[in-house]
């Protein structure tokens, strides 16, 4: 197996995630796109870990998974709060801080 095929798979998933973050209005879908981005990072970490023959990448991949879980918890709590206050989860309606 080539190293590059894993890295390019990670790059493709990363770019699809970036597209989702830019294009989506629904806050839950933006969080899902962020999960895609974090997963592509994990694939890269594990590919380099196998290439270098070390286990450091595994440790960091586990830490990334834990951070992602925490991020989803807080993010969905914020989405719930937003829905409770304005009955919508559209990110384009959060414009109070615009000058």
């Amino acid at each position: 197996m080539l190293l590059n095929q894993f890295l390019i798979l990670g790059a493709i998933l990363f770019c699809i995630g970036v597209y989702g973050v830019i294009a989506r209005k629904n806050a839950v879908l933006v969080l899902m796109s962020i999960e895609l981005i974090l997963n592509s990072v994990n694939i890269n970490l594990l590919a380099f870990s196998l290439r270098n023959g070390s286990t450091d990448g595994h440790t960091f991949a586990l830490y990334v998974i834990a951070i992602a879980a925490a991020e989803v918890g807080v993010g969905l709590a914020m989405v719930l709060l937003m829905y409770r206050n304005r009955r919508s989860v559209g990110l384009d309606e959060l414009s109070e801080m615009k000058g």
Binding site: L3, F6, G17, Y19, I22, L46, H58, L81
Partner: protein
């Protein structure tokens, strides 16, 4: 030494799973139904777990299945069902200027692919690597990476308390 047909099988498995993952990821960002997006995300996450097995990272693969497919997806489905009155197709999921995402992501992908091809070319992964055992991973976590582990514990604690404080009704 690993036989050549096993390498062929690994490559076939890789490209099959990669195609499913890319298609699933594409559906996550293009579908008009939030629940369908969550279910396509399950496909992508399961494919990622399979790729981790190909990369000789069994513990991370199992953690991926437990944490992502088990816990995070349940959170996503709860979030979807608590925030959307109607479950079904919805034409208002995208921004007005959603098409601006296409050039950004295509340019980013082109840059990344060129840089990766330039940097790593046709470098082979080692074929005789031993599977990383759980003991090795735990020796790393509770050895040289203990301080980030503690920091991560505090992050999780803060996130739990923050989520409860944000979401409770008072």
């Amino acid at each position: 030494m690993i036989a050549a047909d096993l390498l062929v099988a690994q490559n076939v498995g890789f490209y099959l799973i990669a195609a499913i993952m890319v298609f699933g990821a594409f559906r996550v960002v293009t579908t008009n139904n939030v629940v369908h997006a969550a279910l396509w995300l399950v496909v992508v996450l399961a494919g990622a777990a399979a790729q981790y097995v190909l990369l000789a990272a069994e513990f991370v693969a199992i953690t991926q299945v437990l944490v992502y497919i088990g816990a995070v997806m349940v959170l996503f489905l709860f979030g979807t069902m608590l925030t959307r009155a109607k479950i079904g197709t919805d034409s208002e999921l995208n921004n007005k200027n959603w098409f601006m995402g296409i050039p950004v992501s295509v340019l980013l992908l082109a840059t990344l692919v060129i840089a990766l091809n330039d940097g790593f070319g046709d470098e082979q992964l080692p074929t005789d690597a031993a599977v990383t055992t759980t003991q090795q991973v735990s020796d790393q976590i509770f050895g040289p990476y203990l301080l980030p582990f503690w920091a991560l514990s505090f992050v999780l604690l803060a996130a739990t308390i923050g989520a409860i404080v944000l979401a409770r009704r008072d």
